[in-house]
């Protein structure tokens, strides 16, 4: 299909601000009379605050006030998982206890040093398996896990059960969670090759570049909040509830966000934004709370780690017959995360196994709080499964690309545990083939495991998946007497440019030149529709539907107005060159500016004052009511879509692993997206190359560490839980895309942000395994010391299945 805008590059309006430094992040704002907040955080991994004596601090010159958990939770803290704004029951080192506002940060810090907090120390635990063992410490008050409708409960295994699991055996304990489909016993019975082992994946922090600083002030009864967020209206909708301000009284300002990666999509993950808001309300001054890198580590969240057991069965023809998993998920200090479910779902979807089962439990540890991190679950398991798939291929005498083709999902297939949902479309076979061609998979195979001095060549190929689309959100477009199209977009600006590329669906629907369009975004008092949070790779699918729908509503109204004024039926009109005109006689029609003026004269449904769609979200209703009467309006509520819109990726890479040092170099990497119609090639390419970097981090570098004696984090900086740098990344990355439309989206598009990483971690771990003759580490990351110890034949000196500290 020939599009004006879809599939074409453009310059997103915020890019110039990014290269000039003019675009503002939360900490870049100031306000007259602004004072500064600093945090007193818990020095203890698990404690209860007995007493706070802030009298000396409050008597200091330049100190304006203090905010404690008692202030923000006058009826008591919620007894549930999740980060609190402030707490008297810290369950990790660094959790905010109170905040002090002062004339400057130095004074605030001095005041905090003068505050006496009496803590009752409570038992703490770093490794979930240590908590699971009978008699082991619980990370939370009241238990080590959280059960729906039950609250905190204890989940315990016998010491022997934990020891047996650590020794590499299938857990024997009853699983609180069990999800399954198919006949596992029969499927394993049909298997010609069965692999079974325990595995670990490490937790590690999101480490967004922008710390979650926030500034707030109240004016005329409204709260103005500058904060960092992946989402815009979805975040505002949630933070209003956390702060306790009416939605119509909150102005959330968030023109740009310095990274999110899942941890800033929802307000519940950034409750710290409420601290300056509450403090400002209390002391009646604007409050800036700058957050340090160390604080960002502590309250910025982390990926869930897995302590798992996996059993995969393959038939002689290479089909995956069965997948059986037992996963202990690390819920960290504040709970959160459904990674194990997502991981199992991904196995069902990517490899189309006939029988799949997940048994699992989430156990707390007094470490970073956990939540969604880029492909939560799918990406960890991709790195674990891929080397096993290669082992099966080698054992069965099947090429490693071929075994993936044999098991590939495709159009008409379904997947998921326990419900198997049909795909809206699936072109994974095309992505596999395209990758193989771009990489020259077949041509490279003769060099497989070839040695050159101390170096050995390894190849890997991997697949990634994430659900990539939602529905049920709202869209608003406006047009004034100048005929310009104003696309109101509530999508957050976290660096994907999806706020802009989804807006182009509206321009496309109205055949509007891009330079005649304005994207209205960045602050909620510009009256924006509700969107789904910008997580789960959903924005492109979800919000092209809403932008397209709102523009279609405007188009319908244009035709109605033109037909009513100029004769004929609406169906006899079309649009071109910013005019609505009769199809038979194009000279009969209105320019967009004229039809907008007529709409404003007519009012009613044409200006948002009547006949609004049913089921508009409350947030959208507020925005529409404030826009009503001010211009020609298109407004839309998106109905539910049918099926699972997948984002698929395939990556192939070649590495050269030095057997003397344990280091490897990525020689080549090719990564291909299957995400429906491509909306914005440069933006897609950025997601793919970013996915490569993140995949390298998961596979080889990133893991946080905690001191088991005191529960202190030992990796609060970029170089400790090491984020990949330029020098860890190939100088050239080849990316491509399949570009076939999805029928459930008006322009055929789906998302891709998360699976772009999973395929890379899968390919890289497979390549490391390949270079080592098929050795499977069953772990992420696979670090240099692990590789060199394996080559040297030195037995690993860490506690098996250890989490948050590999030496246990």
């Amino acid at each position: 299909m020939a599009y004006m805008h879809i599939g074409k590059d453009f310059v997103p309006p915020d890019v110039t601000g990014k290269v000039t430094g003019r675009i503002k992040y939360a900490e870049d704002y100031t306000r007259e009379g602004m004072v500064y907040a600093r945090l007193l955080t818990s020095p203890i991994p698990h404690a209860r605050v007995i007493d706070i004596d802030a009298s000396a601090a409050l008597a200091m010159e330049g100190v304006f006030g203090i905010l404690t958990a008692d202030d923000v939770y006058p009826d008591g803290e919620p007894q549930s998982t999740g980060l609190k704004i402030l707490t008297n029951e810290p369950t990790l080192v660094g959790e905010p206890i109170l905040a002090v506002a002062a004339i400057d940060e130095k004074t605030a810090e001095t005041a905090i040093a003068a505050i006496s907090v009496t803590f009752e120390r409570l038992p703490f635990v770093i490794d979930p398996l240590d908590s699971l063992a009978e008699g082991g410490p619980n990370a939370y008050n009241g238990g080590n896990t959280f059960a729906f409708r039950e609250g905190f409960i204890e989940e315990k295994w016998t010491t022997d059960q934990v020891a047996s699991f650590r020794a590499g055996n299938e857990p024997t304990a009853a699983a609180p969670t069990e999800l399954a489909y198919g006949d596992l016993d029969a499927a394993f019975g049909e298997s010609a090759y069965v692999y079974e082992n325990t595995f670990t994946t490490a937790g590690y922090p999101h480490m967004s570049m922008e710390p979650r600083s926030a500034m707030a002030y109240w004016e005329d009864g409204k709260l103005y909040l500058h904060a960092t967020s992946q989402s815009l209206t979805a975040f505002a909708d949630g933070i209003a509830g956390i702060i306790g301000v009416a939605k119509e009284d909150l102005v959330f300002i968030n023109a740009a966000t310095g990274g999110g990666f899942g941890q800033r999509a929802r307000a519940g993950s950034v409750p710290s934004a409420a601290i300056p808001a509450k403090l400002s309300q209390k002391i009646n001054r604007p409050v800036m709370m700058r957050v340090t890198r160390e604080e960002e580590f502590t309250i910025g969240g982390a990926r869930q780690g897995f302590q798992g057991w996996i059993k995969l069965g393959f038939r002689q023809n290479g089909t995956m017959a069965a997948a059986d998993l037992w996963i202990v998920s690390d819920n960290g200090g504040k709970g959160g995360g459904g990674d194990a479910f997502s991981a199992t779902n991904a196995i069902s979807i990517v490899y189309q196994a006939d029988a799949v089962r997940l048994r699992g439990v989430s156990i707390g540890s007094n470490t970073a709080h956990r939540g969604a991190q880029r492909g939560p679950g799918e990406n960890q398991i991709a790195a674990i499964v891929s080397p096993i798939l290669d082992k099966a291929a080698d054992e069965l005498g099947i090429d490693r690309l071929e075994i993936r083709k044999i098991n590939t999902p495709q159009n008409g297939d379904e997947g998921g545990v326990p419900q198997r949902t049909p795909f809206t479309s699936a072109y994974m076979p095309e992505a596999l083939e395209q990758t193989a061609q771009l990489f020259d998979w077949a041509g490279r195979q003769p060099r497989r495991r070839q040695r050159n001095g101390s170096k050995v060549t390894g190849f890997g190929i991997g697949q990634g998946y994430h659900n990539a689309g939602r529905s049920g959100m709202d869209g608003i477009v406006m047009m004034g007497p100048d005929g310009r199209l104003k696309i109101h977009n509530g999508v957050g600006n976290l660096g994907t440019y999806s706020y802009a590329s989804t807006s182009r669906a509206a321009a496309e629907a109205l055949k509007m030149p891009w330079d005649s369009c304005d994207i209205i975004t960045g602050r909620t008092d510009l009256h924006l529709p509700i969107t789904s949070p910008q997580d789960g790779s959903n924005s492109i699918f979800t919000n092209t539907r809403t932008c397209w729908g709102a523009a279609q509503d405007m188009l319908t109204k244009m035709k109605e107005i033109a037909a009513s004024d100029l004769g004929g039926a609406p169906a006899e009109y079309d649009i071109s060159n910013e005019r609505v005109h009769q199809i038979a006689n194009q000279s009969v029609g209105y320019t967009y500016a004229q039809v907008a003026r007529r709409a404003m004269e007519l009012g009613g449904k044409y200006t948002g004052e009547a006949e609004l769609p049913e089921d508009l979200a409350e947030w959208t209703q507020i925005s529409v009511s404030r826009l009503a009467g001010s211009g020609f309006m298109g407004v839309y509520h998106d109905p539910a879509h049918s099926g699972n819109p997948p984002g698929f990726t395939v990556t192939a890479c070649e590495i050269e692993l030095d057997t003397e040092t344990g280091k490897f170099e990525i020689i080549d990497v090719v990564t291909v997206a299957e995400c429906g119609t491509v909306m914005h090639p440069q933006g897609l390419k950025n997601q793919m190359v970013g996915g490569v970097v993140w995949g390298i981090g998961l596979s080889a570098l990133e893991r946080h560490l905690y001191d088991p004696q005191n529960g202190l984090p030992a990796s609060t900086g970029y170089w400790q839980s090491k984020v990949p740098t330029y020098l860890d990344t190939p100088a050239r990355i080849v990316s491509g895309w399949v570009d076939l439309p999805d029928p459930e989206n008006p322009v055929g598009a789906r998302g891709i942000g998360e699976p772009s990483m999973g395929a890379v971690s899968a390919a890289l771990n497979a390549a490391i395994s390949d270079a080592l003759g098929g050795h499977i580490f069953n772990a992420t990351p696979v670090t240099t010391d692990m590789i060199i110890n394996h080559i040297a034949g030195i037995s690993e000196d860490w506690v098996p299945l250890a989490q948050n500290n590999f030496r246990g």
């Binding site: 430094g21 310095g258 990274g259 330029y726 020098l727």
Partner: protein, 194 residues
């Protein structure tokens, strides 16, 4: 990074500045005087983007703090404030420098350039900025001003780098979004149009 500005020199600078301030404070004490109201510890002049700026600087104040909070040049970002990420990169005498890790007091004779000083007087983007726009190098953009300054420094020393040289030259700057490939596209494009 500026080889002259090591962690050791930074720490020595903090100590020296503190000593100077202490000496001044002791002078007041020795003369039986309290610090006068509005007491200025150090009013210094620094050259930022071709302009001499008078600025009141605390002894331990870093250049990043001065730029952001005294001079309002918020294009310079603080990602870690501990010399790890490069988001605060500025040029000091043409050399890429972590502004979080140098003291403003040590800049009195330096020629400081920030991202705000790159555009021409008529508003044209610097070739690096233009190339980064064309290549859509930024993602979230938080590291971008630092990446821009690192690229400007690199291209002044080596106007036609290979991609691998550019990779090495930019390696002091982290991009958590992982946009390295697109930044390298931008550096190579800047070399073409610069």
């Amino acid at each position: 990074m500026n080889p002259k500005l090591t962690r050791r020199r930074f720490i020595k600078g903090v100590i020296a500045s503190g000593a100077a301030a202490t000496t001044t404070t002791m002078w007041y004490a020795a003369n039986g005087q309290n610090r006068p109201a509005g007491y200025v510890e150090r009013l210094i002049r620094i050259n930022v983007n071709g302009q001499v700026r008078n600025v009141d600087v605390a002894p331990q104040e870093t250049l990043a703090s001065t730029l952001r909070y005294k001079l309002g040049l918020t294009g310079t970002k603080l990602g870690c404030n501990r010399g790890e990420c490069g988001a605060c990169t500025v040029l000091v005498d043409d050399i890429a420098t972590y502004s979080c890790s140098v003291l403003t007091h040590s800049m009195k004779n330096g020629r400081i350039e920030t991202v705000e000083g790159l555009e021409s007087a008529n508003g044209d983007l610097h070739p690096v900025q233009q190339a980064f726009v064309e290549s859509l190098s930024p993602q979230c953009g938080y590291c971008t001003p630092g990446q821009v300054m690192a690229a400007v420094a690199l291209l002044r020393i080596n106007p036609n780098p290979t991609r691998e040289e550019a990779q090495l030259g930019m390696s002091g700057n982290i991009c958590r979004c992982g946009s390295y490939d697109s930044y390298l596209d931008g550096v190579m494009r800047a070399a073409e149009i610069g």
